[in-house]
């Protein structure tokens, strides 16, 4: 699908602060307020994770694949590709907890909910995005490591960046594209 925006990560900008994790918790709480969210039962879930592997930090979540293996393999139709937004949505009411989705997801984007024994995952902040706001993790990222863009834009940005690196002979400063 054209013009579907996704959360991409510019790895070299991630400082591993986990702001995206907290923002995800708050977004998936009842109150949407940090100070209240920490007291909610059940505890608000998150569907992204900050990891450090070798020298890289990165914040990972569902890629909302064009041809999502999780939705393809799901026997009950709990996971589906939403045609309007391009997001892969999930419906806990239909989920039987067979974990086939978890098995086929190349990114580890499935988060088991052990209270309901169902699969859960990044919903793309679908409500926020539909009302014209950015996904919570993108909004919260203080170094702008997370960007919300469509593939075309992302690739154009990378082409420009690589060209600039070639011509300047040096790495782009992480501040260069930041909000000043």
């Amino acid at each position: 699908m054209e013009n579907v925006k996704r959360v991409f990560i510019v790895v070299e900008r991630c400082v591993g602060c986990k702001s995206c994790e907290i923002a995800c918790h708050i977004e998936h709480s009842k109150s949407k307020d940090l100070y209240k969210a920490i007291f909610e039962i059940p505890r608000p879930k998150r569907f992204n994770t900050v990891l450090k592997v070798d020298q890289y930090n990165a914040s990972l979540r569902c890629a909302h694949c064009e041809d999502p293996p999780c939705a393809n393999v799901c026997p009950t139709g709990a996971l589906q590709k939403d045609e309007e937004t391009g997001f892969v949505t999930y419906n806990p009411a239909k989920c039987i907890g067979c974990w086939q989705c978890a098995m086929v997801c190349p990114f580890g984007a499935i988060y088991p909910d052990y209270e309901t024994l169902t699969a859960a995952k990044c919903d793309g902040c679908i409500e926020r995005v539909k009302s014209g706001r950015l996904p919570a993790c993108v909004e919260a990222c203080p170094t702008n490591a997370l960007v919300f863009a469509d593939v075309k834009e992302m690739e154009q940005f990378k082409r420009e960046r690589s060209l600039r690196e070639l011509t300047a002979g040096q790495k782009v400063s992480i501040f260069e594209l930041g909000v000043v």
Partner: protein, 652 residues
């Protein structure tokens, strides 16, 4: 053309930075002017920070050692529950809180110390620039401290007071600090003694707090919180000493008339703002402004207009009726009027942005304290010995700058708001004495007992841009006044109240003050020769919260009840500084219910939060209450007052 992946984010930030909520028109117009001319506003800077770090907000980020920084997964979603050293969320939260409290207490202690040093030098005849203006207060401080006043020279008594004050800072014996013992309500002091948290001096609790919170020391949240209460008491020492000795040197405030808000900047005058906290500098600036009025007229101005910003503003309003122009958050807007020629600052709450904003105008920003320098500001080092020279130079810089002013860039909002202030404890007792010369506290206590005054709320602290947008303080104060709660204000909340018209006796009907309270304010106002006392009682700067402490001591000892039994609550509804935290901690130690917003950074530690918000009631009688909805907060504070009234057997 470069692909801008952050376009949407930038737009969202831009939009949010231009949402000024319920702020008043004058402030909003200046914010818009600032945005255009200086390319920044506090709301731009806030929007760029938001959302702020959740670990920090909840107090669960530990940076005490280099195995960290560590943070705790407060949602328990598979993340760490322990720091590298094994510290729990509660340990981390308690340590962080204690360090915040040290920051605040140290500010007040050093402030007090600098005033005490001036008093000592004046008493020894070493200092020409200052003198003892209020000998009556001097004698009362001496009596409070148990210093003999019979057949002694004033300078001799002053010297003993100053030396006793400074001795508390550095002494090594194990007797309680004299100021703390003599100035604290006896019931609170007794509780502190039983808990073993009475400071014997000032340096040790501060050194100890930094030591015990460093890596590999105190990990027991309860033990750390006891140290925190002790630090609150240290803060009380700083507050009390700063106020009492400032009154001795500069005069005890009495009822005074003035004006508030940025409209007090005058287009055809040389405008000089005094910003910060220490009256030692601002008193001299006022003096020299008077002396150099003629020079202002010689350069075509009508004169020199000194305006007050932040707590220095409160100090010079209380003692001299200088207009209360701008709170801490509005300091940069004073520059944005384009009509401010110089701003001179001492210490605390001086935002570095002032230099950047001043650089967009003709305004000269002058720093004066050796440990408060700001890149871009002119630094003229102040010391009591050089006070006259420095103050004169500051006025001269203002006069020079005035001649560079660009009239085309001037915008000053209309309509200054009328203010009655100056309500020191002495001034209040002076009014009450007119009602009952024998027993001045009696009319106050009677009106509390009969319910005309349902309770007393001290609304103190700062103007936080986060809460300013929805006028937290104004809404909270209005609700309290409506329900007959007598509202005392200090610090930047006093600016907010003054600007909202809450210090204008003529607005008492308009504001909707409850009938009982209104009748008391009108009666007392009549005794003071005013149509009414103002709806909120301005007791001074943030260090002058000590005046509330003095009043609490007087009332609790007169009635022989604990401070925690009195129908008194406190609130810092727009908390910014560590000083607000340490003042609040002092109030908790005294036994007062303390409301705060934004939430104190303790909610990530369940045990610490529980102790402060619940268990403390059985320890000091104090209680922390966190709420960020003004109407809900008012309702709950009134409920807490009601509980105390029931406890005292008063009509609830």
């Amino acid at each position: 053309m470069v692909t801008d992946l952050l376009k949407e984010k930038k737009e969202a930030i831009e939009k949010s930075s231009q949402e000024y909520g319920m702020l008043d028109e004058g402030t909003v117009r200046l914010l818009k002017k600032e945005e255009k001319e200086a390319r920044t506003t506090v709301y731009h800077r806030l929007a760029r920070q938001e959302p702020q770090c959740g670990f920090g907000e909840l107090g669960v980020c530990c940076r005490m050692c280099y195995m960290g920084p560590c943070r705790i997964d407060v949602f328990n979603s598979g993340g760490p529950q322990l720091g590298v050293c094994g510290a729990t969320a509660d340990t981390i939260v308690a340590r962080n809180l204690l360090r915040e409290t040290v920051g605040g207490a140290s500010s007040h202690v050093e402030h007090a110390m600098e005033i005490a040093e001036i008093l000592r030098d004046v008493a020894e005849g070493k200092l020409e620039a200052y003198k003892i203006r209020d000998t009556e207060k001097l004698l009362s401080v001496a009596r409070n401290l148990g210093i003999n006043t019979e057949n002694r020279e004033i300078s001799e008594i002053a010297l003993e007071i100053a030396e006793a004050s400074l001795e508390d800072l550095y002494k090594l014996d194990r007797k309680p600090s004299r100021w703390i013992e003599k100035y604290s309500p006896s019931s609170s002091f007794k509780k502190w003694s039983a808990l073993g948290i009475v400071p014997t001096n000032i340096w040790q609790p501060i050194v100890n707090a930094m030591h015990r919170t460093s890596m590999g020391n105190d990990a027991d949240p309860v033990n750390i919180l006891l140290a925190d209460l002790r630090m609150g008491i240290v803060d009380g020492y700083g507050l009390t000493m700063a106020t009492e000795l400032s009154d001795v040197l500069f005069g005890t405030p009495n009822i005074i008339h003035s004006y508030a808000n940025l409209a007090t900047i005058k287009e055809d005058y040389v405008n000089i703002a005094v910003h910060g906290h220490n009256p030692a500098l601002s008193e001299k600036v006022l003096e020299w402004a008077e002396k150099l009025q003629e020079r202002a007229r010689a350069i075509g101005a009508k004169g020199i207009n000194i305006i007050g910003v932040c707590c220095t503003g409160n100090e010079v309003l209380m003692r001299h009726g200088i207009p209360l122009a701008a709170n801490e958050m509005q300091a940069e807007l004073a520059i944005v009027t384009g009509a401010l020629d110089a701003m001179v600052a001492d210490f605390q709450c001086i935002w570095p942005i002032l230099a950047q904003v001043a650089s967009c105008y003709h305004t000269k920003l002058i720093t004066t304290v050796p440990y408060v320098k700001i890149p871009g500001a002119i630094h003229i080092e102040f010391s009591p010995e050089k006070a006259d020279e420095v103050a004169r130079r500051i006025i001269e810089i203002g006069l020079e700058a005035y001649q560079q002013r660009n009239p085309a860039r001037v915008f000053i909002p209309n309509h200054p708001e009328e203010v009655y202030a100056g309500f020191s404890v002495e001034a209040l007792l002076g009014i009450l004495k007119k009602v009952d010369p024998e027993d001045p506290l009696k009319p106050l206590i009677e009106n509390i007992a009969n319910g005309n005054i349902y309770g007393i709320a001290a609304i103190v602290g700062c103007p936080n841009p986060k809460t300013r947008k929805y006028l937290f303080s104004e809404r909270l104060i209005k609700e309290l006044l409506k329900n007959n709660v007598l509202v005392i204000v200090t610090g930047c909340i006093a600016h907010i109240a003054a600007q909202a018209g809450f210090m204008n006796p003529r607005k008492i009907d308009e504001i909707g003050v409850g009938e009982g309270l209104k009748s008391v304010l009108k009666a007392l106002g009549g005794a003071a020769g005013l149509p009414s006392l103002p709806p909120t009682i301005h007791m001074g700067s943030c260090v002058d919260n000590s005046r509330i402490g003095v009043l609490l001591k007087a009332v609790s000892e007169k009635l022989h009840v604990d401070v925690s039994s009195l129908p008194v609550v406190a609130s810092a509804p727009e908390l910014i500084t560590e000083k607000a935290v340490s003042i609040g901690t002092w109030a908790l130690a005294l036994g007062v219910t303390v409301h705060v917003c934004p939430p104190l950074r303790v909610l990530g530690g369940p045990q610490v939060a529980d102790i402060l918000t619940r268990q403390l009631r059985n320890i000091t009688g104090g209680e922390l209450y966190i709420e960020c909805d003004p109407e809900k907060a008012a309702k709950e504070l009134i409920r807490k007052i009601r509980e105390k009234r029931i406890g005292l057997g008063l009509r609830a």
